[in-house]
């Protein structure tokens, strides 16, 4: 009887759980984690707070400065402004938190062992984890964009439902929403780059904090490096140096070259991060 179990079943049996089921399980796990939900709630609050701030400041005389200043009386700028602001630190923080939990956190809880024994193939495990991180990045960005549009139209209002671009022209609501969508996609892709690097770090440690510290530390170092004039040659290699390109969506006609360049740069980071993660996870002890 045992020999039948040994030979007969193992040859015909499927060797992997269906990928869809794995992804669904990962999604469920990500969305059931209280900190994910709290974080998404906070991201939804960011545009609301900006809109209130702008609305209050608007009553006092004096021009606002920069992107936030441009929000005044021009609500459809808000989602783009919120995403651009959050991309500097908040969004990378959310993504690295998700990536930290994805591998280092699982290792710390002893659940990585369970996944590998099940077995979830090591490549599938990386795919599953990358999917989870991407979901968090997308949801966080969408929270900013959707609440940004709503708060922009309701609290800030202005321009007859049109968007006045930084170039001074007005575009229709539909056109404006398309531009917001473009910024969402571009932002998620930049976050994918952060997530890939964070996952790579996550695959090397079982301390989630190491991932957070490394990614945020790295972003700060990038910021410092880009501020040193003598190191200007370094600019094309720094992920963060293209992160102001999102505001290009507010110009007319829409200049795409900065977004394209930063997306290409993000692709390089994604490739490096994915490569390192896969390399490490194929060998990692659990």
């Amino acid at each position: 009887m045992t020999s039948a179990v040994l030979t007969g079943e193992s040859l015909s049996a499927p060797h992997n759980a269906p990928l869809g089921r794995l992804l669904a399980a990962e999604l469920r796990w990500v969305l059931r984690r209280p900190r994910t939900l709290v974080m998404l709630g906070l991201f939804a609050l960011v545009p609301v707070l900006i809109s209130i701030g702008v609305a209050v400041a608007n009553r006092t005389p004096g021009p606002g400065a920069g992107l936030i200043g441009a929000v005044a009386g021009n609500g459809l700028v808000l989602p783009v402004a919120a995403m651009t602001l959050a991309l500097a630190l908040l969004l990378p923080l959310a993504v690295s938190m998700a990536a930290a939990d994805a591998i280092a956190g699982e290792a710390a809880h002893g659940t990585l062992r369970g996944l590998l024994i099940a077995p979830v193939g090591r490549l599938r495990l990386v795919a599953m984890k990358a999917f989870g991180v991407l979901v968090v990045a997308t949801l966080a960005t969408l929270a900013l964009a959707v609440m940004g549009v709503l708060a922009g139209l309701v609290v800030v209002g202005g321009a007859d439902g049109q968007l006045v671009t930084l170039s001074g022209t007005a575009v229709s609501l539909g056109d404006a929403l398309a531009r917001v969508a473009l910024v969402v996609i571009w932002t998620v892709w930049q976050l994918a780059a952060v997530g890939a690097i964070a996952l790579a770090i996550s695959s090397f440690t079982e301390h989630p904090l190491v991932v957070l510290a490394s990614v945020l530390g790295g972003l700060i170092v990038f910021g410092v490096l880009s501020a040193i004039p003598a190191l200007e040659w370094l600019q094309p290699y720094l992920l963060t140096s293209g992160w102001t390109a999102g505001a290009d969506a507010l110009r007319d006609p829409l200049p795409l070259d900065n977004m394209a360049a930063s997306s290409l740069r993000a692709l390089c980071y994604v490739a490096i991060g994915a490569g390192l993660t896969i390399h490490r996870m194929l060998r990692r002890d659990a």
Binding site: T2, S10, R28, A118
Partner: protein
């Protein structure tokens, strides 16, 4: 319980065993962490359908050996095999039929026991998507967690966590179940439950590898034993055979201890007073190296020693374990 004493405490040769299919096999398995040798060239065969008790003091390499067998850690040297598949190369073929509880139960504190098990079940290749709910319920009931299933894992007691770990290993019928210290943190009832589960698995034809430092557990549930010490296998084989090698000779219960010792030593036998509490009857132990048993008894009777009882002394696994893992001084 045939007691043909075989006096070799060396690892049992794989001779007879190699005819039967092996559920797990280690060949020269070795693992070093830096300069520390965790597992030092272990050869071990686990016949299909057996219940192998893996014994050893803390840090003897039990868990590392299990981790290598499951493909969680790459061996420094040697090869591992699970259900006929080389590990880790063909893990994907062997592991679906393997349930394991290694290094304590690993679950997420913010999910309920049921949610944790559902997540584990979703990753099981041999479990159909439609069967998950039922399998989770059945596993929860089997380990006695039916009532606590919807409480968060965070609030579980140590014993409940251990039970949930066991449930994950038993989500579906397995060919091989590996339990690393399954009775950790369990109350006596839980320990009894684990023994019961192992017996059920054994009766169902599954192979079980259970590591423990609770020797009584191993003695009660196992058919085979492997004893590790400092990363080496110091004894392996069938439980009965190993117990038989533990004979300390002949144990003779008598009130005339002094006379008996004088007589036996005069006849060239090794004899010493058995350790007894004052309440018990006194006894002497005669070594195997001297005259044979009938001769010993004849000697004693002729010398006028009152022999109340004579029997082969069988050491239990506790003594064997203690003897095998003792540092030679």
């Amino acid at each position: 319980m045939t007691s043909s004493p075989r006096v070799d405490a060396a690892p049992a040769p794989a001779g007879a065993a190699s005819v039967r299919p092996m559920a797990a096999r280690a060949v020269g398995l070795r693992k070093t962490f830096g300069r520390t040798v965790a597992v030092d060239g272990i050869d071990l065969d686990v016949p299909a359908g057996s219940v192998l008790g893996m014994l050893g003091p803390n840090g003897s390499g039990k868990t590392t050996l299990i981790r290598m067998l499951l493909g969680l850690t790459r061996p420094t040297a040697g090869a591992a095999e699970l259900l006929g598949h080389p590990i880790p190369e063909e893990s994907a073929r062997a592991l679906p039929q393997v349930g394991a509880l290694v290094e304590g139960p690993g679950f997420h504190p913010f999910l309920s026991g049921r949610e944790n098990l559902r997540r584990a079940a979703a990753t099981e290749p041999l479990l159909g998507t439609g069967e998950i709910r039922e399998a989770v319920d059945a596993a929860l009931h089997r380990v006695g967690l039916g009532d606590a299933a919807d409480r968060r894992f965070r609030g579980y007691s140590l014993g409940m966590k251990q039970r949930l770990g066991l449930a994950a290993a038993l989500l579906l019928p397995r060919s091989l179940v590996v339990l690393d210290e399954p009775t950790n943190g369990l109350d006596p009832a839980g320990t009894r439950d684990v023994r019961q589960i192992i017996a059920e698995l054994h009766a169902g034809g599954a192979t079980v590898i259970v590591s423990s430092h609770l020797l009584a557990e191993v003695e009660a549930t196992c058919t085979h034993v492997a004893v590790l010490q400092a990363g080496s296998l110091v004894a392996a084989g069938e439980l009965n055979a190993l117990l038989a090698t533990g004979t300390g000779g002949l144990e003779i219960t008598t009130p005339d201890v002094e006379l008996a010792l004088r007589t036996l030593r005069g006849a060239g036998a090794t004899a010493y007073r058995a350790e007894r509490s004052p309440a018990e009857e006194q006894a002497v132990v005669v070594g195997d190296d001297g005259p044979a048993a009938p001769e010993v008894i004849a000697l004693l009777v002729r010398a006028g020693v009152a022999v109340h009882e004579a029997r082969r002394s069988r050491t239990n696994l506790d003594d064997l374990f203690a003897r095998l893992t003792e540092e030679p001084s």
